[in-house]
Amino acid sequence: MLEDTLTADSIAADSALAASGDASAFERLYRTHVARVHTLVRRMLDADEADDVTQDVFIRAWQKLSTFRGESAFGTWLHRLAVNVVLARRKNVGIERGRFIPDDGPLGNVSSKPVTLELSMDFEEALARLPEGARQVFVLHDVEGYRHDEIARLLGVVPGTSKSQLHHARMALRRHLER
């Protein structure tokens, strides 16, 4: 408990120092939070994009630190920033793809039919193989704890679509629980 308080205090201090331009303090924040950000990004996007996007998240965090007012924990602020960067990336990639492949909606690449995955995969691998939209809804809802109305707003869909995709994702993943 005391350790958590000290950690929270040191993160708050480092975020204030980093906001004033202290790169060493920002590096400490990076070391504390990089695993969480990288894992979020890797689960939400393709694994080969994770390094680039994680770097982008931290560079944007550095640029926007002056807007961080300490009303929430730095980790929460950074996490929301990471989600926004990921979704912006998804949107841009969607626009690029849309030049060649007709899109049929914000979650157009997600089938409404049940998703089937090879049984030999472990849970993380099966999660990575889910269609992008279902994967993002699953990560945001079941891993990160977002509500359907928040997810719907972030992804530009109705809450019913978010619920439906979550159910398809869970149904696909239930065979990969303990491998």
């Binding site: 331009g21 990076y30 931290f58 560079i59 239930r174």
Partner: protein, 214 residues
């Protein structure tokens, strides 16, 4: 197995069904082993998701981030230097803007002055020559004295620009007065003189205020 309730199991698990639907689904679960099994599996998926652990990236990404931060810092410093190099003090900007107004006003006067075929006052209209100047002259004189006392508080570049622009203003005033000698009824010349005097007072007041703040 897939029946009408299977697709509602996640909503049931998340507590998103209303009481009527929940009651109906629970009645169904009491009689459907497949749905009970599926519900248990979905519950396990949710628990597994909550237990997923974060992992460090395979390579250290800090060097790339630090490099980008350094580049931005360098660019920012360069921008600041450029901005500083071309920046002017408030007094300098004020004086420069007034000089610009005067120069454009003087240009217009030269373009439309009497004798060039363009009348500046309607024939037969009698306009009383300005009589306010003596009071204004006193005010200007007081402000000029104050400026002389205060200018040591201003940086030399500001004083130099202010003095140069006061000279421009004074010259414009002198020219307007000389022109009014020949055409005392000119509406344009009277307004031009009044505006120039007003701007001189304004400049002197602002520069004195600036000096008082320094």
């Amino acid at each position: 197995m897939n029946d009408q309730w299977t697709n509602r199991l996640s909503e049931y698990l998340d507590g998103e069904l209303d009481s009527t639907e929940r009651g109906a689904l629970e009645a169904h679960l009491a009689t459907c082993g497949d749905c009970r099994l599926t519900l248990a599996e979905l519950r396990a998926v949710v628990a597994r998701a909550k237990a997923l652990e974060d992992a460090q990236p395979a390579t250290d990404l800090w060097s790339g981030i630090a490099g980008q931060i350094r580049r931005e810092h360098t660019l920012e410093r360069r921008d600041r230097l450029v901005r500083r190099r071309f920046s002017l003090t408030v007094g300098q900007l004020l004086a420069a803007s007034i000089a610009l107004v005067l120069l454009s006003g003087g240009g217009a006067w030269l373009a439309f002055k009497p004798g060039d075929g363009i009348a500046t006052s309607r024939p037969g209209t009698l306009i009383t020559p300005v009589s306010w100047t003596s009071g204004t002259d006193l005010a200007v004189s007081d402000l000029e004295d104050a400026l002389t006392r205060n200018e040591s508080r201003l940086d030399t570049a500001t004083v130099r620009v202010v003095r140069a622009n006061l000279a421009v203003i004074n010259r414009a005033i002198a020219e307007a007065r000389a022109a009014l000698q020949g055409d005392p009824g000119s509406t344009y010349l009277n307004l031009h003189l009044a505006n120039t005097m007003r701007r001189k007072v304004e400049l002197l007041r602002r520069v004195n205020a600036l000096a008082a703040e320094s």
